[in-house]
Symmetry: D3
Subunit: 135 residues, 6 copies
């Protein structure tokens, strides 16, 4: 159940264009729910797809698989169920193996644990971290 | 200001051992505040350092720089200030360049934005993600 | 599935009173799940309904539709699914149009994105904000 | 203390342009820390300022003061200190009175309280919310 | 630095009453910053103090020390720095020892770690938990 | 739907050992979904069970029922649905009554409310909390 209706009508020119670009860029005929709900506001759909294409799909310095794993880490910590599913699937499609997935789980579990400890203790930031920046 | 006192006395045998191991493993003479506060409970200090050493310091399938960037992503999303500082510093030490840092910022900002959109719309998970798992 | 049982018995005097007041105040015969589960503890039910009535239902300086949109923003950010559904419905009932809903989505998505950037950079607060307060 | 260095050099053509536009649009000579740190990556600076200008500064259906209060609600819930300061200041500049600020506090405090209750009880979403959407 | 001004004037009748009650109830002459800032809105001050007095100060089934430790757990997870400080201090005043504080840290660190794992895996809820409720 | 597959094969020696230990320690024949999904990575399964056994099952200074209530508080605040269900069930099994559950709800709801207020006001930490630590 969602707070807005899924848009099945693809006749709006912006929606049509974006769906075509998604299909071409990703070499698929499948448009996920995220896009079908975002199509509620064609400009928002366009804005988000443009970001995804430029940042996540385009080759850049950080390998795409790594970018998806960073995206997964944010989505899991924000407890966004849909995003956790879709970006885990994306990382796997880009080659994340079961072994890497296991390591990933250990890293994010440890991060959550130490974040909680630091927040409970309210550990003051070492001056040394500042010196690194000022160099 | 913290909720527990910093431990400056290093004579406790567990603390002594762990500090020695941190210094050796990291090839440094500096012990950060995180460890000095955790030393409030020597067993907790040992438990956390063992995790960090096994998961973050030991070479594994995911490169250490990437592991630190995943750790950064969790820490930033949990808004843990100390952790954000220390793991950003760690990623830089392991070779994260300014350009990669910029890309990282774009990825985590986009993730936070789409997480928020998905949660506001309550987008239902596509069945296709399940099929991937069942394969 | 919930952690406590839904209360279907309305014979408890506090529950009876509150349900009557909810129905009258909202001009409806429907009591939502939130109230039926809170009725597990009649005093908590009374406490929460009194707050909702005084803060959200009573006319005040901030228009009720706006108050519901602020409530939505908190609920979405906390990723409270039930609350996101119920307060989105409430805002719509109070006149939030599809166009306003679209604008709302853009605002909260941008806020989440810049919050994430600020937390990752750890931007220090400008002194100018303090001067504003001290005036 | 921040994780990246503040950019004081404004000679980069994108930075120069954006700062000029910020000053003109807001009729001020002051550039806040947020922008000075974002300038670390001129394209990110441009991307974020374009969003802020289009969504928050441009007049639209939701009054700008209300948009800032929604932004405040997200920033507070994400516990982004800088954002809470800057958007509270922005809402005040756009006319949010002390009385409205008080009401705002009551709304977001109540939202956080009921979000927590709903999450602890795991209240199932009423079917009625879905019917609203399907209409 | 705060988003509202600290109220030092105690002549408002509600503020005067509440401060007197806080001092008497807690047997202290010290009024913490939380109250001095809440006094910005005397009715909110009264509302919050009434809650604290009824829920946290009044003896009830859950011992007061335990209630403070539960309060600490929420405050730490929400990363509320002030609340983490004030409720850790309160728990200590009510008898929480260093050893109990250590155990508490281990519990909340483990909870954060397993929460993160569960959210990353999206573990489905066992039916057995439901049967417990229905009994 | 989950991001990894449930492990039904219990023939892996680590999985076999851990399941046996869980059944013996908890005097049950039921293995919950959490463990069956964690078994995806036998070493992670072992690591998490060892933590749970040492921290949550072993008798210590904080009574086990109280430890489960602290665990609940973290899980609810992180909005981890599975964890909220399983640890509420665990606290009940250890003797948490309906009346204590009600009190618990009031405490965590109040904590979430005041956390939100403090974060919105950005209340500065009183020096008095520091003096407590330094003693």
């Amino acid at each position: 159940m969602s707070t807005i209706k899924k848009t099945n009508d693809e006749s709006h020119p912006i929606i049509e264009d974006i769906y075509k670009d998604i299909k071409q860029t990703r070499n698929t005929s499948y448009i996920g729910n995220f896009w079908k709900y975002l199509a509620f506001d064609p400009n928002l759909l366009k804005n988000v797809w443009t970001d995804i294409k430029n940042i996540m799909v385009k080759e850049s310095l950080i390998p795409n698989k790594t970018k998806e794993m960073i995206y997964m880490a944010v989505s899991i910590t924000n407890n966004c169920s849909y995003c956790t599913h879709s970006h885990t699937a994306a990382a796997k499609k880009l080659g994340m193996t079961s072994e890497e997935h296991s390591e990933f789980l250990s890293v994010i579990a440890l991060a959550a644990k130490t974040n909680q400890l630091v927040n409970s203790i309210q550990v003051p930031v070492d001056d040394i971290f500042n010196e690194d920046i000022e160099k």
